[in-house]
């Protein structure tokens, strides 16, 4: 279950604290911002404002003795914002690629994002595929099994989600948190020299390697 206890830097006495950068990608209006809003604030708006550039939010989840803090970049979906996307996924340890189960085109677009991430993002990035708007099952155009099969072939986590009903929203973030490596330095520069332009180091770099001591 997500909580917002605002975990701070560990002092060695409490459990481990890890911080990860996560990016959401996917076609316009598939529900990226709604997933984040549900996960971070537990809210849902029928008409979520379109995201321009990107929005930044954080949320913390607890996993056994580990506290995982997600730094979330929620990006704009329109195709022409594509050239800005590398700025957000470079240095990310996790990505959620979102499509809308009622729209086949958005599934195709999701596959393109997965390919791009596999080619250009950090080699160890954990990618999850989210088939959102699962509450609209009567308008379904993308079969669950088709997406599941694709996810398995490509080594992705996969869940159908609904930001509206909250179905699987916390679960997908938790599944990512579980899969992320927690015993090594994972932020920024540890993820190879890609992305010369930015995000080589983040806050936690101030104390290198302390992510999960």
């Amino acid at each position: 279950m997500a909580n917002r206890s605002g975990a701070q830097r560990p002092n060695g006495t409490q459990g481990k604290i890890c911080q990860f950068k996560l990016v959401l990608l996917g076609e316009s209006a598939v529900g990226k911002s709604s997933l984040v809003l549900r996960f971070v604030k537990g809210q849902f708006h029928e008409y979520q404002e379109s995201t321009i550039g990107a929005a930044f939010l954080t949320q913390t989840v607890c996993l056994d003795d580990t506290t995982v803090k997600f730094e979330i970049w929620d990006t704009a979906g329109q195709e022409r914002y594509h050239s800005l996307a590398p700025m957000y996924y470079r240095g990310a340890q996790a990505a959620i690629v979102v499509y809308d189960i009622t729209n086949q085109d958005t599934f195709g677009r999701a596959k393109t994002w997965v390919k791009e991430l596999q080619r250009q993002a950090s080699p160890n990035i954990v990618i999850a595929l989210a088939g959102n708007k699962a509450d609209l099952a009567n308008k379904r155009m993308v079969e669950h099994d088709e997406a599941q099969g694709y996810a398995e072939e490509n080594g992705l986590l996969f869940m159908e989600t609904s930001a509206k009903t909250a179905m699987n929203v916390n679960d997908i973030f938790l599944a990512i948190a579980k899969k992320l490596p927690k015993n090594e330095q994972v932020t920024g520069a540890g993820t190879s020299g890609q992305g010369r332009r930015l995000v080589e180091s983040e806050g936690q770099q101030k104390a290198p390697g302390n992510c999960c001591k």
Binding site: Y47, F56, S83, L84, Y88, L198, G203, Q204
Partner: protein
């Protein structure tokens, strides 16, 4: 604090957020109403009784001090050249576009964004005709300018123009002049203009506020991440509405360099708090905070400061930087392509 005398909905129809700071706002408004009354009188003298408005130093000075709400549409049209553009293309041009054939892809993409534009504004919530008017404007523009089509962000700009002018036709021409003359290449498919101008801002901050530039670089937050929405939305949905409109007053008269003045002022006047942020998250939060604190709510003072705080900012410097940085980016992209090509 007692309940405010200000309603939950502002004069443009936006619902004030739950955490709206009525106290700060009331303090500000008690002073600003006096300014508004004074400006209204001055403007009435300037444009009253059939006097025509022309671009000159007096008008420029007046514009910097704020155009009264009731005159905004008209003054924006005149000083930006949008009116001349309309005369050139014909006054029925907009209507003709609306009567022309429509591309289904454009219709669909605009329709998707309609209910997602200002959902917390009473004029845009379901059933109100601003949604239909906004649809008309965006679709007409996308068919007029194929190079731009529909770019997300234009919905907020056109939406706000519509709230101010209450006229589809006026909004269309103001949108056209913004997109094609004031900010060329911002909203095209590659958005090169925006990317270049963000690089220009980066360089201006390096030159003018080097301490902040070094600090933000060391934290690792790119200026593009911070400012993309500032540039694309021209501060709509970023700064308080009255401040945005005051900025637009100057934009329509003086052009795109006003955006740099606003960005530099925001950064410079907040450099203390920016320098205190030691990590990525707190810095990202800080940049959200500085777009809604009392410094920007007090729009009159803020607008005076944009002409002082950043210091001299000649247009030819911006033009030179644009040329140089766009060229650098082109070269970089070319070498990246070669580089990628050799990676197995």
């Amino acid at each position: 604090m007692a309940r405010s005398c200000f309603s939950k909905v502002d004069e443009y129809g936006f619902e004030r957020p739950d955490d709206f700071d009525y106290e700060t706002y009331e303090d500000f408004m008690s002073q600003y109403l006096i300014v508004l009354a004074k400006r209204a009188k001055k403007w009435a003298e300037l444009i009253g009784e059939g006097k025509s408005l022309k671009r000159n130093l007096t008008v420029k000075r007046y514009v910097r001090k704020g155009i009264p709400g009731e005159h905004r549409g008209l003054v924006w049209l005149t000083v930006s050249g949008a009116e001349a553009l309309r005369d050139e293309w014909g006054s029925d041009f907009y209507q003709k576009l609306l009567n022309g054939p429509m591309n289904q892809d454009i219709v669909d993409i605009v329709r998707t964004d309609l209910p997602r534009t200002f959902p917390d504004n009473i004029f845009f919530s379901a059933g109100e005709n601003h949604q239909q008017q906004l649809y008309n404007i965006l679709v007409a523009y996308a068919h007029d300018n194929h190079e731009v089509g529909y770019c997300q962000g234009l919905n907020y700009i056109a939406g706000l123009l519509l709230l101010v002018t209450k006229s589809e036709d006026t909004t269309f021409w103001l949108l056209k002049v913004l997109v094609e003359r004031i900010f060329p290449n911002y909203y095209t498919r590659t958005m090169d203009g925006v990317i270049t101008d963000i690089d220009v801002l980066d360089e201006l901050i390096r030159l003018k506020i080097p301490e902040v530039h070094r600090h933000v670089a060391s934290v690792g937050l790119p200026w593009a991440v911070i400012t993309t929405k500032w540039f694309i939305c021209l501060f709509a949905e970023v700064l308080p509405i009255e401040t945005v409109l005051r900025i637009w007053d100057c934009l329509f008269y003086e052009g795109s360099k006003i955006i740099f003045r606003v960005c530099l002022t925001l950064v410079k006047r907040n450099q203390g708090s920016i320098l205190q942020c030691k990590d990525f998250s707190s810095l990202a939060e800080c940049f959200k905070e500085i777009t809604r604190d009392s410094l920007v709510i007090e729009c009159h003072d803020f607008m005076q400061s944009i002409f002082k705080v950043p210091g001299s900012l000649p247009l030819n410097l911006i033009v030179k930087l644009r040329t140089r940085l766009a060229q650098q980016r082109q070269n970089q992209m070319r070498s990246d392509r070669v580089w990628t090509w050799h990676i197995p």
